[in-house]
């Protein structure tokens, strides 16, 4: 019991260290735009296409194209956002983060959990905003709101990006 508690405490401490380490690494990296602006842009990307009410394309010929666009876009925004925690820019090349910390006392499982945490934080901020805007635009332009509006946002703004980007994080951390 005590050993389990000690282990959980150590793991929590390691995650805190990793977050502090990430902040220091981010402060040294140059991305063209400041990190906060980059993050804002990714949040905008994540929310933008979810604003359009599904009633606008339901039943029309653009439905397939719309779904394909949503599929790509819902993965692109969070993947781009999380890439700053998976790759470092060095001499104009992108170097995997895991390569730099390969010989450090960093538990790969805790590292992955921290990155999944950043992803959840990102989606946790964009999903409610997308939901509010989807509902508002459906009510304003179509005077109707269905369960489909909500499921659409939950799927493309939450479930799908979490599964795909989360799996990508898990496999890209090669330690």
């Amino acid at each position: 019991m005590t050993t389990d508690r000690t282990k959980k405490f150590e793991q929590k401490k390691q995650r805190e260290l990793i977050r502090a380490f990430d902040q220091e690494m981010l402060s040294l990296q140059t991305y063209g735009l400041p990190v906060s602006w980059r993050t804002g842009l990714h949040r905008f990307m994540a929310v933008f296409f979810l604003i359009f009410p599904v009633q606008a394309v339901y039943g029309s010929g653009e439905w397939t194209a719309f779904w394909f666009l949503m599929l790509s876009w819902s993965i692109l925004a969070p993947t781009n956002y999380i890439s700053i925690f998976l790759y470092l820019k060095e001499n104009t090349r992108l170097v995997p983060f895991s390569q730099k910390i390969k010989y450090l006392p960093v538990d790969p499982k805790q590292l992955r959990l921290v990155r999944i945490g950043y992803l959840l934080q990102f989606l946790g901020q964009t999903l409610p905003v997308s939901l509010i805007f989807q509902c508002l635009t459906a009510l304003i332009f179509y005077q109707t709101l269905s369960l489909f509006n909500i499921l659409h946002v939950l799927f493309f703004g939450g479930i799908l990006p979490f599964l795909i980007t989360g799996a990508s994080i898990w496999f890209q951390i090669d330690l």
């Binding site: 390691q14 380490f21 040294l28 470092l88 730099k100 010989y103 006392p105 538990d107 790969p108 330690l175």
Partner: protein
Amino acid sequence: MEPVILEFYHVSGLAKKGFVLSDISFALPAGYIMGLAGKNGAGKTTLIDYIVNPKQRYNGVISIQGEDIRKDHAAMQNKIGFVSEKNNFLLEHSAAQNAKIFGMVYRHFDYERFLSAMRQMELSETKIVGKMSRGEQMRFQMAFAIAHHPAVYLLDEATAGMDPVFRIDFFRILQKVIEQEEASVLMTSHIAEEIEQKMDFTGILTDGHLSSFQENGALNTTQYFSNTY
């Protein structure tokens, strides 16, 4: 009797492809330097990789201070000071910046000790890592390793590229550190004089097998090198 810091117990590689080690056993006590010699491709770097790389698959046990390194490999890295060309630091940033960032993840990293070690290594902490020569990078890595108080130093061709004058100082610093901290050193080397004069033990690797492990003086390294090379 000094405590054993690093021990290999019947370690044999399990990789299906590529080079594997075969039934390696030795014990390195605290306060000693062990040299690993052998032809190119004999397995010297591979042996060190078995300790530092958590993805290596093998039978047998590798332990540091009595603990199997596979039990919690990430935590074990706290006890290892690794100096090698493979070690990756941020090339576009200074030694000081690298130390401050990478030192954060170690349990006992001492930044003041790092600065002191850099002075002993005759290196400026403001120098950009990517602009250092090979010898300077090895010295920087050594200073970084000293700063986190490891139990074992693993030096893979660390002295290649060092000027002969500094190499004398390097071993003096190394000896002082391991005596003070009850640590040990395992290092690979191609330099016969270094193996004969600086190592307390020498292991000779031949095709992945430890063909000899003896105290220096007992092993005629000159004869070995003339026969091998």
